[in-house]
Symmetry: C2
Subunit: 788 residues, 2 copies
């Protein structure tokens, strides 16, 4: 690991930086403790102290140090930088810095840069009605919450993509560094194009401890750590110490060197002809004490430089005289009288050290992505529609057709759109995009490789976490994207989705945050068509997970065929501040609707399919369906029932927009009760064939008048590697079972139905015998076509 | 990276190993393609070919190679080994090997080691009614499904813990190596005690490609790869080549060296006094072609050693004469006539190369953990019960009391129990366990560290994935454990839970698999008490996720106080083949039930709390509650209602076992309708205060008679860093709101209730004003006690 021995700071610069650092440390401690008396105009008394002391001090001084030093290089180089706070628990640091530089007051004009504003700043922190203790969306300049750890570096790389002039400084905590998502995201450097993308400068901050334990990377020796970072493909630099003056010089020299290196790498790559090699980008390892400058010992126990400084080092301040005294001397150790004037305003010498408004990290326009976001240029989706002369007339592979649309989205949006996936783009039949762009790849290439290029705009790595992190970073900085995943494995990012949904909910409530492009999922290779992969690849529960989030944020679509998929995706790509989940098949399957019908059906989100219905306004049964496979089985059941029981009046209702099922009062897309009743009636049996776990339909509809008539079929965790039809049979979602369900619920059908029901049951038995013998579905199932 | 140049194999040994490898390759290709004619007694015809070709060839020859070589060292050293197949898609390899060595026929006696059995083996693979294409639970010797990638190495380390004589060979694929969970699990070596634990030998298999892309680790140069593995703390050895004879010698020499190294490390550590240092365990990098020995080219395209060999290299075998011919010559290239006798039995020369029954990897008793599992020795839980003179009389911190119980579980089960958590054991108030054991830690130690030791049995790493992976590995090899996590962040392992639930469902259906200890979660630091951490730490949706799994596998408990927590955990630790989710608080809160009542209440799982009810068998309203905070708010609401509306007849129902709410037909714990109706009535309003998302209660109860009377309050994604009472107010779960809900639903209360309702509404307003001013809850809330 390299140590930089240059001492680039003059005494005055060093004192300035140190004062800036002291100021932000003071402001941080103030937030954790003070309800009043922010400038210590009088000796601290218990009533100046918050009744509940909540916050994380341990990581804060390190963040403050880094931020102050980045300000220096920003000013010196007029470099736009984005700051990603991996140790997101260090909220006090980012709140302090953005207030000191002016960004906080720009976002929250009530919180002025003076004594009154400072008092407000202190009180609001971790206080009811105030701001959370983490670097949440409330903090200007942030794109990474950091409450849940692991995503800072992938967010940083996502932000850098297609932003060639941006440097993203990303602090990675040694706690966060233990998470899986973070551990693999170091490899993002194999996907960053030094020509077209910006740079990421990771700063691994080793302060030694997590909550109550040492951190792994802080307790391996320098040789191992150097090897690890070189193994990840970086050039590591070490800054280490607990003497502020020494660390200031070392960090300043190292930052100068790293920024120089970034410039060199970019100049070289951008001036060279042909494809650049993958450079070894610099990484800084900063080893400083946890809770640095805080109390050395409390009640006789060591605190600074131990895990005891993780949260609130002095906990008894309101009741323990000694703690109160210690807090006061801690605060005064920063010499606030030198830092703030009589009105509580930061002194000019400090203000001059912050970058001007355009380059302040707290005001970085990329961090408020909606500000800089451009709408996608979308081709006319109708051009891609497949002809459907009659419902069910021709098969199609929906995602393949959508791939052509996506190809042209790439063509029309050279630096504003990316596709993300864990090595499944081709498998998910979206391969036509490779006519417009390649997969990003900075590694070695062989002759047999295809579609790899340093400036490819399809991101593929076998890490759903990294895909999701990159995409979130890309979206939160205002660009557009799509994550295409196997349905089952999108659960890998459940928790990341939670955090993104929370972020979107929060920015909806912040007037200074502008809406960002939606997080779009295309879940294909879904539960019903895991012919190859079987049980481990079958899980439709991501929808259940998503609908727990705020209704204002989540949308779920189940287009049943090609044209409805096109219409749905065209819509989703135009939206902002949503999480759009689209589930669609990649296998050849019937197309039901021509373009005009598809567009209308998607606009309505739910509707009666007249071509399949014969209810003349008064159905004996409603057959509802959501999802491509359930739709096909429903229509096949309708065919069977029409053939065998022609007198039965059936209404077919197809659901594209799942949230239409929910109450209008619960979800903005929800049908009113009157609308719902008009479709489903209040007294007719409804056989509902659903793509996922049946209980979700009950959960969405339990308040509806006709709910007790609802009978849902869906995935019940049965089946494994088998044929497509066998899968639906094993889960009782097949045409025969649906038809039997109808017979069971329409007793008026009488005796003829008894024999018919037996015939359907026998067909199921025949199928099982056939499929286990021959390994394929019954010919009449394979060859079945809807006859209009 | 070290290359071993020794050539330890005699010609005869080399030929034997190669024959064994050819046999398993033959058996693998047979599984993918053949429906009949398994020994190629006649030229292949289309009807011998499966109609649907499903499977993964690419990774298979590498797995076969490793398995054959491990057999050699097992026999030579009489070493018990467990094989973990990271590239779990390579199902054919493990099916082939376990059949060849005899383990398959032991588990499945119908599938004999002869022609008939071979035909059955081939047909069943990826065939309806047969076995899945991955290394699922159906495969003897497996503890790692590998359908979803990323967990092989943490499973391996979990299996090695407390098994000092075991060596776990873990093949890590280069695709899997890109996942986050795998990337961080290399650090498991910092937690493995060379004295008390066994060894893990990772074999990183670089065959170059994932599905359609090169793999990251296969395209960094040897220098970087060496640095990476050294950085992870290992001593790397490289075996590389595409000439079988050369690779056989190199792999044999390297395995000898690595096994020697493991023995040396263990001997040294076990003979030394004092604490061992962390050794650099060996790791093997095996670089061989993807789809090795398969078709070089197909239809003019290169296949072997490219991504095209990932699945089925020849896809047109049934219709394309040339493909069929190619398949036949591919199969014959393994010279089956030398490998199997006239009856299709493996020739003796092969059989002799497999270990004897006791040491076959497919029969490894640890891989069928239920076989070797011993029940936990549990202390008498009643001894830990807290006295509760009267309901609500004394506060307690439930998890702290449970910690004392857990301490003694450690004391009584020296090598059979472990606690896992992402650095939260202390935070979750389970710190008393450190009186019995330490945290596992092989790294450097400092003076200020506490409770760290190489032989500590508490596993803490800031990676939920690694904790879960270790625990699964530990459980599936028959031992017991508990995962204690913040409630919100257990979502990080949602997808791992899916896979484990599928594994448990599968082993329930396999008569040769014995039940394994349950996967136990204690979710504390839950949604209602994120006073410090706020919005990002609030998510109760894991329960929703879990209840989608098979009812036979999942159990969910919400003990409302200390003694019910003790009783619940005592029960869960005795169970097998379940996923037990227990949600309980760590904060001081009222204790409601003495031991006797608690044990009875937990045995019933749900019941009327008579002490809080005054309904005399005919309630005006049922107030139901599940979860500690909702229970407290419900009882506080009851107090308020009794005070203000004494004539109101209230029944309080508390739910500990959430699945009691579901239909008896849906879940084994489900109440019958009669039981449910007896508790909730069919015509009385029910105000249900629930710990998590309200819709879950509707989902569980939608079929119940009284469902339409059910009104549920729970978490609606509101609130952030704030006081405990403010959290419930912001989510309308507070005592005042619950009381208002009652008034709204019991119109018979008349006019007096109007004023009372207004008073409750005013109290909510008063609270909001007070809390945002003073930062703490209203005194009457803070000081509230239930008066029996």
């Amino acid at each position: 690991m390299q140590h930089i021995h240059a001492k680039p700071l003059t005494d005055q610069q060093l004192q300035g930086l140190d004062a800036y650092w002291r100021a932000t440390n003071y402001l941080s401690v103030g937030q954790i403790y003070l309800l009043d008396n922010p400038l210590l105009r009088e000796p601290l008394r218990p009533e100046h102290i918050k009744p509940r002391l909540l916050g994380h001090w341990g990581t804060t001084p390190g963040l403050n140090l880094i931020y102050a030093h980045l300000n220096r290089v920003i000013r010196q180089r007029e470099q736009q930088m984005l700051f990603v706070t991996g140790p997101g628990h260090g909220g006090p640091a980012l709140v302090a810095n953005t207030w000191l530089e002016g960004s906080w007051s720009t976002a929250y004009p009530n919180t002025t840069r003076d004594e009154r504003g400072m008092a407000r700043l202190f009180k609001q922190f971790s206080f009811p009605g105030g701001v959370p203790s983490h670097v949440a969306a409330d903090v200007p300049g942030s794109i990474n919450e950091g409450g849940e750890l692991g995503y800072s570096l992938s967010h940083a790389y996502g932000a850098a993509a297609d932003n060639p002039d941006l440097v993203v400084a990303c602090v990675v905590g040694d706690g966060e560094a233990e998470t899986g998502p973070l551990a693999t995201s170091w490899h993002s450097n194999k996907f960053l194009d030094p020509v077209r993308d910006g740079a990421v400068l990771p700063i691994l901050h080793l302060n030694g401890y997590k909550i109550a334990n040492p951190a792994v990377l802080a307790r391996i020796d320098d040789e191992e750590l150097t090897a690890l970072l070189r193994g990840y493909g970086y050039e590591p630099f070490l800054v280490e110490g607990s003497d502020p003056a020494t660390v200031h010089q070392a960090l300043a020299g190292t930052l100068d060197r790293c920024l120089d290196r970034i410039t060199e790498i970019q100049l070289e790559a951008r001036s060279a002809a042909g494809h650049p090699l993958r450079p070894a980008w610099p990484v800084i390892v900063l080893r400083t004490p946890k809770g640095w400058t805080g109390p050395r010992t409390v009640d006789g126990q060591p605190v600074e430089d131990t895990w005891r400084s993780h949260q609130v080092p002095l906990t008894g301040v309101r009741t323990d005289e000694e703690h109160l005294r210690q807090l006061e001397s801690w605060l005064r150790s920063y010499r606030p009288q030198e830092l703030f004037d009589e009105q509580g305003r930061p002194v000019d010498a400090l203000l001059e050290l912050a970058p001007g408004p355009a380059l302040r990290m707290g005001s970085c326009p990329h961090a408020n992505g909606g500000l800089v976001s451009r709408a996608l240029e979308l081709p006319d989706v109708e051009e891609y529609a497949v002809p459907v002369k009659a419902p069910g007339f021709a098969d199609g592979e929906p995602t393949k057709v959508f791939g052509a649309f996506l190809r042209d989205v790439f063509r029309q949006n050279a630096d504003n759109f990316r596709l993300f996936g864990p090595d499944e783009t081709e498998s998910n039949r979206l391969g036509e995009v490779y006519e417009a762009t390649d997969k990003a790849w900075l590694g070695d290439q062989r002759e047999t490789d295809e579609h790899l290029s340093p400036d490819g705009r399809v991101f593929e790595i076998l890490s759903e976490h990294t895909c999701q992190g990159w995409l979130e970073g890309y979206l939160l900085t205002g660009r557009h994207g799509l994550f295409s995943s196997y349905e089952a494995f999108v659960h890998i990012v459940d928790s990341m989705v939670n955090q993104h949904a929370k972020w979107l909910k929060t920015i909806n409530r912040l007037d200074w945050r502008r809406p960002v492009p939606s997080l779009n999922y295309l879940l294909t290779s879904h539960v019903w068509r895991q012919d190859h992969n079987g049980f481990s690849h079958q899980d439709p529960g991501f929808i259940d997970h998503v609908v727990n989030k705020k209704a204002e944020v989540v949308r779920v679509y189940l287009p049943p065929d090609t044209n409805t998929l096109l219409s749905t995706m065209d819509h989703c790509l135009r939206t902002r501040n949503y999480i759009n989940v689209v589930v669609a098949g990649k296998q050849p399957q019937p197309n039901w609707l021509d373009w005009e019908s598809a567009a209308l059906h998607c606009a309505r989100g739910i509707g009666v399919w007249e071509f399949a219905s014969n209810d003349r306004g008064d159905p004996d049964v409603v057959m509802a369906c959501a999802g491509d496979v359930p739709t096909m089985e429903t229509l096949a059941a309708v065919s069977l029932l029409r053939e065998h029981l022609p007198e039965l009046r059936i209404r077919v209702v197809n659901v594209v927009d799942l949230m239409r099922l929910q109450d209008a009062g619960e979800h903005p897309h929800g049908l009113t009760d009157a609308e719902f009743d008009a479709l489903f009636t209040t007294d007719t049996p409804v056989i509902f064939a659903y793509h996922g776990y049946p209980s979700l339909i009950h959960r969405l509809t339990y308040r509806r008048h006709g709910h007790d008539n609802l009978h849902v079929r869906g995935y019940i965790e049965e089946g494994t590697t088998t044929t497509p039809f066998d899968m639906v049979v094993l889960n009782n979602l097949d045409r025969y079972h649906l038809a039997m369900d109808v017979i069971d619920r329409v007793p008026a059908l009488g005796t003829r139905a008894v024999a018919t029901r037996q015939y359907f049951a026998d067909q199921r038995t025949r199928h099982r015998a056939y499929v286990t013998k021959y390994g394929e579905d019954l010919p009449e199932v394979r060859e079945w076509r809807w006859i209009s």
